[in-house]
């Protein structure tokens, strides 16, 4: 029973990690930028989801609105922060991204205060028994929602002209442009989808812990970076698998080696061990 519970816990966290890390890997695969500010968008999504839910009383309305709004902010970040420095070496964009992330945290602190906000009436907190385990509805929503969203995205990328255009642009932007694909539109779309995914993950975690705070993006940002490295940089399938693996490893680790390491330390220890054996990541090519 403990095994099942830990596995379910790992699956829930793994799905959440996948939702945030896939957005990050989308940006990396297209622009080769480590978009650290993605975690700031994750926190923004958490804030907007909470504020909109409190204002409207409807999570169903708040979630897509928050995702769309953060998607637009992501596009603005590309336009005003990254596009002007794309011709510079990659570390310039990385520095800009870290600066932006810190700035976003401070903006949240200034606007919403240094302490966390909570839902007026946290939705999806009802519990029920399933296979001998006690599960909250929000946990089911996280797993089903992540699988649905990522599954739909995967289907769209393979079965629509726009999806094929996106994958072609990731493969060879110059050739893609020469066949009439607007690389600029693909980049905007990429930032919109990636940022919207971060927002969804932010709303999920705010529901799970009934809390949003200015620094909530900190740990997920490091973990998402660890995940995309583990998955093989730019590899979406690898990112999904690494997310689930990390979630499950953390869940089991907190029980069996939790006396020596906390949950976050386990994640990084796991990454270090894997990278010592496979420096290219679990699913990356040499």
């Amino acid at each position: 029973m403990l095994f099942l519970e830990l596995f379910a816990q790992g699956l829930i966290y793994g799905c959440m990690y996948a939702t945030i890390a896939v957005g990050l890997t989308l940006v990396y695969s297209l622009l080769r930028i480590l978009h650290v500010a993605h975690a700031g968008l994750f926190a923004l999504g958490g804030y907007l989801g909470l504020l909109l839910t409190n204002a409207t009383g409807s999570l169903i309305l708040a979630l897509p609105l928050a995702a769309a709004a953060v998607g637009v902010v992501g596009m603005a970040i590309y336009r005003f922060c990254y596009e002007p420095i794309l011709h510079r070496p990659p570390y310039v964009a990385l520095i800009a991204s870290i600066g932006l992330f810190i700035a976003l945290e401070e903006i949240f602190r200034l606007i919403f205060g240094p302490y966390g906000l909570t839902y007026a009436q946290a939705p999806l907190q009802e519990t029920f028994a399933m296979g001998g385990m006690t599960i909250r509805r929000v946990e089911i929503v996280i797993v089903v929602g992540s699988v649905l969203i990522l599954g739909i995205l995967s289907w769209l990328s393979r079965h629509t002209r726009l999806g094929v255009a996106w994958r072609a642009t990731v493969d060879d932007p110059q050739m893609a442009a020469s066949f009439g694909i607007s690389v600029l539109k693909v980049r905007y779309l990429n930032f919109f989808i990636g940022s919207a995914l971060a927002a969804v993950a932010g709303v999920f975690i705010s529901l799970l812990s009934n809390l949003v705070e200015p620094t909530m993006g900190g740990v997920p940002s490091y973990k998402a970076l660890a995940i995309i490295v583990l998955g093989g940089l730019g590899n979406v399938t690898g990112t999904l698998c690494a997310s689930l693996l990390l979630g499950v490893t953390e869940a089991f680790g907190t029980i069996y080696i939790g006396n020596f390491m906390d949950r976050d330390a386990i994640a990084f220890a796991f990454m270090i061990v894997v990278l010592m054996v496979r420096p290219q990541g679990l699913f990356g090519g040499r």
């Binding site: 094929v164 072609a168 050739m175 020469s178 009439g180 694909i181």
Partner: protein, 250 residues
């Protein structure tokens, strides 16, 4: 169809082509020949819009396209089969063809894929296969097919025979002959001189980015100086024909 006036182009400060004039008539196959680094591929990529123009101009169907984007040139009817194929290796054969027809209507793309499959039946058997897993010959077929999907009137082909087996090269050139007979205008960069001379209506020889000879294949064959100096060929069979030895310009 295509007129290049005093074209100089290159990469940053480095000039690959100097003061090149070239004209290609509708329905003509024009071969660009020369040694490695002569500027053949740079000329082709410049016409496709991928290499920066330093001076001069490019006119396509009477319109100055010198400053047009690669996308605009594809829409205008300039198709490219680049050196090394440059397929989207993670995409399937069918998806590569879809990208080829991206600037056309969806219905035109579907019809175009059927046409390409009729030309290259082997691609039809591998529509769902990853392009990166195809053999060299199949990849070249796909590169040609992808360019045809954009419904070009002018097809730019860079190093068609590079790295392919003779039998595969034969079938690729057979396709070019068919396209030629259907009135397609083709500019061909090729190191295999014998094959280029066999299909071309006119040839231009480049050396260090400059035009050093131009004429028809018959004139090239008749010009001993041109053959020895630029094509590296000898009249080996004593009958005035080109030998079957190493025809490559190195």
């Amino acid at each position: 169809m295509l007129r290049i006036d005093a074209l100089s182009c290159g990469y940053g400060d480095m000039r690959a082509v100097h003061d090149l004039d070239l004209s290609v008539a509708r329905g003509e196959v024009h071969a660009l020949l020369g040694a490695n680094g002569a500027g053949k591929s740079s000329t082709l990529m410049c016409v496709a819009g991928h290499v920066e123009i330093h001076a001069g101009g490019i006119h396509y169907k009477g319109v100055d396209v010198s400053s047009a984007s690669p996308m605009a040139r594809v829409k205008a009817g300039i198709g490219l089969v680049p050196e090394g194929r440059r397929l989207f290796s993670d995409l399937s054969v069918k998806e590569n063809l879809i990208v080829g027809g991206y600037c056309r209507k969806k219905t035109a793309t579907a019809a175009g894929i059927e046409e390409v499959v009729a030309i290259f039946p082997r691609l039809g058997e591998r529509l769902r296969q990853r392009a990166g897993s195809l053999s060299g010959g199949e990849q070249q077929m796909l590169a040609i097919g992808r360019a045809l999907l954009s419904q070009p009137e002018l097809l730019l082909i860079d190093e068609l025979s590079l790295g392919l087996m003779p039998k595969v090269i034969d079938s690729c050139y057979q396709v070019l002959s068919d396209l030629k007979s259907r009135g397609m205008t083709i500019v061909l960069v090729e190191q295999s001189t014998r094959r280029a001379l066999a299909i071309a209506d006119r040839i231009t020889v480049l050396e260090s980015g400059r035009c050093v000879w131009r004429g028809t294949p018959i004139e090239a064959e008749a010009s001993q100086e041109m053959i020895e100096a630029f094509l590296g060929l000898a009249r080996g069979d004593g009958q005035g024909g080109l030998s079957d030895g190493d025809r490559r310009i190195e």
